[in-house]
């Protein structure tokens, strides 16, 4: 009865096992000859500075908020898109208007320069 969901479950399982398996196998079979230099944090060859737990710039938050709005939009558009071929013309127009109103918001964000990095 959940057959279509079983596929998603299998995908999640494979997605977890696939990257985990080489790491685990390496831990078990890999040679361990550690020198202080080898144990250093690797970051593109640069020497790392300070801690990993740093505060992020508050500017990222606006991206999160804009993403949030469009994420909620998806919820409304998802049943609309699934029922697309069964909708009357008015229903399609309603969905288009819905997208248009939100595209308006994107245009506002764009004009305001909220998507630009300063």
């Amino acid at each position: 009865m959940h057959n279509s969901w079983l596929f998603i479950g299998i995908f999640i399982l494979v997605a977890g096992v696939f990257p985990a398996l080489p790491i685990i196998l390496f831990h078990i079979f890999g040679p361990k000859r550690q020198t202080p230099e080898k144990l250093e944090t690797y970051e593109c060859g640069m020497e790392t500075v300070g801690q990993t737990w740093v505060q992020f710039k508050v500017q990222y938050y606006i991206y999160a908020l804009i993403f949030l709005v469009f994420d909620v939009e998806i919820i409304f558009l998802y049943p609309w898109a699934v029922a697309f071929d069964k909708l009357p013309l008015l229903g399609v127009a309603a969905g288009v208007l819905f997208i248009f109103l939100l595209a308006d918001g994107l245009w506002y964000a764009w004009q305001k320069g909220a998507l630009e990095w300063s």
Partner: protein, 172 residues
């Protein structure tokens, strides 16, 4: 036990343990990530209850949006890891007793409700999302609410940008 029951027990255990971890981790980033696991467990529970749309909403809104927003908020805060204080306050015992009382009350209440143990009818629920989509945009359905939701989201977007955007005179 049927495979569904095993799946439910495993999911319930994972989400409950993750929920406990959310409130007991000192590192707030880890707590937020455990919250994602808890919410995912709830999504699986929705699937088991034959509510596929709610499962999708759970993943999209709660994991995709709310949890991300929380992780963002946590990452913006200072000292996410350095909190050395006691995470439990002095009312922890009273709170635990109150929670236990409410929980036992709920068990008694739901235990007496005949529908509580009823298992959802196995059936083809794939048509329900189509019905929802048609009803959302039908003129005699919820099209007004549908468009109002869009306006509301637009208002939220504009409001969020307006609040977060630095004023011209405050700019450094």
């Amino acid at each position: 036990m049927t495979p569904d029951q095993i799946l439910f027990i495993v999911t319930a255990l994972i989400s409950t343990l993750a929920a406990v971890m959310v409130v007991s981790r000192r590192n707030m980033v880890h707590a937020a990530l455990f919250l994602v696991l808890t919410l995912f467990g709830v999504a699986v529970a929705f699937v088991l209850l034959e509510a596929p749309f709610l499962a999708v909403v759970q993943v999209l809104v709660y994991i995709g949006a709310i949890a991300i927003l929380m992780i963002f908020a946590v990452m913006l805060t200072r000292n996410v890891t350095d909190d050395s204080g006691d995470p439990f306050n002095k009312n922890a015992r009273v709170g635990g007793l109150a929670a236990l009382f409410v929980f036992s009350l709920l068990v008694v209440m739901f235990g007496g409700w005949s529908q509580f143990t009823a298992y959802p009818q196995a059936g083809d629920t794939s048509g329900s999302i189509v019905q929802l989509g048609v009803a959302l945009t039908a003129a005699d359905g919820y099209v007004i609410a549908f468009e109002v939701a869009s306006m509301l989201l637009l208002g939220a977007l504009v409001g969020a940008i307006f609040v977060v955007w630095p004023r011209q005179n405050e700019n450094e």
